[in-house]
Amino acid sequence: MRMFDPHIHMTSRTTIDYEAMASAGIVALVEPSFWLGQPRTHVGTFEDYFASLLGWERFRASQFGIRHFCTLSVNPKEANNPQVAEGVIALLPRYLPKDGVVAVGEIGYDDLTPEEEKYFAVQLELAQRFDLPVLVHTPHRDKKRGTERSLALIREIGFPEERALIDHNTEETLPLVLNTGCWAGHSIYPHTKMDEARMVALVKRYGSDRILINSAADWGVSDPLKVPKTVALMRDSGIAVHDIEKIVWHNPVAFFGQSGQLDVADLEERRAIDQSQLWEGNSVLRGQTPVVERAAPA
C-alpha cells in the first residue's frame, strides 16, 4: 500500500530511515519546520534551516524515491522570543511561495502565552495571503484547552476550517476537531501522544473522514515507521482497506493538495531512483555504488 507520512522531521533522521520508509511503502512526506530541541537565537539560523528543508533535504529524500514537501513557520515555542519571531515573520513572505511549500506550520499554542497567540494569528493571516493551508500543533500540556482555543482562534479570524489540520490529537480532542470543518492529525509515538492500538479504536469509533496519521518522528524517541505499523494493526483489526487508504493516502493528498503544490498524477507514479545525481556537488553516497533505476513500475 502506498503511504504518505504527513508530519515527519527528516533533518533529524538518517538515510537508513529513508530506506526503511521507502521499503515499507512511504512514497511522500511532509516535513514541518519546527523547533530543534533548543531555542535558536538568530533569524539567520531560520533562513538556513528553511533553505535546507527546501534544498538538501528534498534532494536526500529523492535519492530514496520519496517525495519531500515542507511547511514553514515560526513554531509556537520560539514565538516566545519576539525579537527572533518578528524577524522570521518578515522572512516568510520570501519562502512561503517557493515550490513544494504545502502549508504554513507548525503554528499554534505551546504554553498558551499571549506571544504564541499573537504569532499564531499573524501566521493564519499569512496563510490566507499566500493561499496556503495551515498545520496546527496542539500543546503537550493543557492540551484540551489548547485545542479549544486553537479552534476558537481559527473561527474568530475566519480562516477556512477545511484548510486547517489540527495535529497531535487524543481521545479527548478528536471529537472537538471533528465537530468543526478542520482535519485531525494523530502522531503515533512509542510513549507519548497516541499509539497504534488507541488509533485503531479511534478509527473504529469515528471512521476515516478528515482523519490523518503521522509518525512525527524527530530527534527524540520516535519511530519513522509508525504509519506503516499502524496500517498493519488497522488491517489486522478488520478496518476496511478503503478506510485505511483514505487515512494514509487520500486524506493527506486532499488536504495538502489545497496548496496547489501536489500533482496527484505525478505522486501516484513511482519515481525512479537515481543515486548518481548530485545536489550542489554533493551526494548522499559514501563510496557505495549508486542505485540507478530505470522508470520502474508502481
Binding site: 533548543q38 504554553d111 487524543t170 481521545e171 497516541m194 527524540g220
Partner: protein, 231 residues
C-alpha cells in the same frame, strides 16, 4: 579566604551571603585556585562571562558534601535554596554571579546573566538558574527563568523547577502553572517545587484535572502526586 582578604579583593564589604559562598568554595580548593578565585571576584565586568565559564575547569565538578555546620550556616542566613545537590563548579559560578550582583548596575547584571545563560552549556545554565533567587533585583531576570522551563534538557528544567524558590516568588500564574504541568508530564516529583502550596489556584487545579482525564482516556497511569494540586 579570610574576611580582610575578601574585603580587600572586592574593595567593599560583601553581603553575608557572598561571604558564606566564597568561604564554602575556598575551603574546597587548593591555593592555586584560591588565587584564581580572588582574581575572578575582582575581574572587570567585560571578562566576567569568561571567568564564569572557566570556573568548572578550575574548581572541578565534585559534589559539595556539605558538613552539618555548613548547612546550619546556610540556613541561618535565610538562604532557602538547598545547596546539597550542587556541584562545586555550580557553587563557584553562583558565587561569581552573586559577587557581580554586588557591584554591577541592575542593567549590567541583567546583561551578564542573560549572556551567561544564552551562551552557556547545560552546566552553566544550571548555575545561572540556581543563582536567580540569590541575585538583587531578580524580578528583572524573569525571562531567563521562564525560558528555562521550555528546555528539553531535564537537569536544566530541574535547576529552575526544583529546590529553587525563584519560580514561586516571581513567576506569573501562567508560567508557574506550566512549570507544574511540565513537572507532572516528565515525572518530576511535585514535592521538589518550592512554595507550591502557596501558588495553588483553581486554574492550576483545572489544568491538573484535565491532565488526569487525558491520561485516563489514553489508558495511561496518572502521576501519583497529582492530588497535591487537584484542589
Amino acid at each position: 579566604m579570610d574576611e580582610r582578604t575578601l574585603d580587600a579583593v572586592l574593595g567593599h564589604t560583601p553581603s553575608p551571603t557572598l561571604r558564606l559562598l566564597v568561604d564554602l568554595v575556598t575551603r574546597r580548593i587548593g591555593s592555586r585556585d584560591r588565587a584564581w578565585l580572588e582574581g575572578a571576584l575582582a575581574i572587570q565586568p567585560a571578562d566576567l562571562a569568561e571567568c564564569f565559564t572557566v570556573a568548572a575547569r578550575r574548581v572541578g565538578k565534585r559534589a559539595l558534601d556539605l558538613t552539618s555546620d555548613e548547612v546550619a550556616a546556610i540556613e541561618a542566613l535565610g538562604v532557602t535554596s538547598p545547596l546539597g545537590g550542587w556541584g562545586l563548579d555550580e557553587l563557584a559560578r553562583v558565587t561569581l554571579l552573586v559577587s557581580a550582583g554586588g557591584r554591577l548596575s541592575p542593567s549590567e547584571l541583567e546583561e551578564l546573566v542573560e549572556g551567561c545563560y544564552r551562551g552557556g552549556d547545560n552546566r552553566e545554565r544550571q548555575a545561572v538558574l540556581r543563582a536567580l533567587p540569590l541575585l538583587p533585583n531578580s524580578d528583572r531576570l524573569l525571562a531567563v527563568g521562564v525560558e528555562a522551563c521550555r528546555t528539553s534538557v531535564e537537569p536544566i528544567f530541574e535547576a529552575i523547577a526544583c529546590e529553587n524558590p525563584y519560580p514561586a516568588a516571581h513567576f506569573p500564574d501562567l508560567n508557574f502553572n506550566q512549570l507544574v504541568l511540565k513537572a507532572l508530564f516528565i515525572g518530576v516529583a511535585l514535592d521538589r517545587i518550592v512554595g507550591l502550596d502557596e501558588r495553588r489556584t483553581p486554574e492550576l487545579a483545572r489544568m491538573a484535572a484535565d491532565y488526569a482525564s487525558e491520561r485516563r482516556a489514553a489508558g495511561r497511569p496518572v502521576p501519583a502526586d497529582i492530588g497535591r494540586v487537584l484542589t
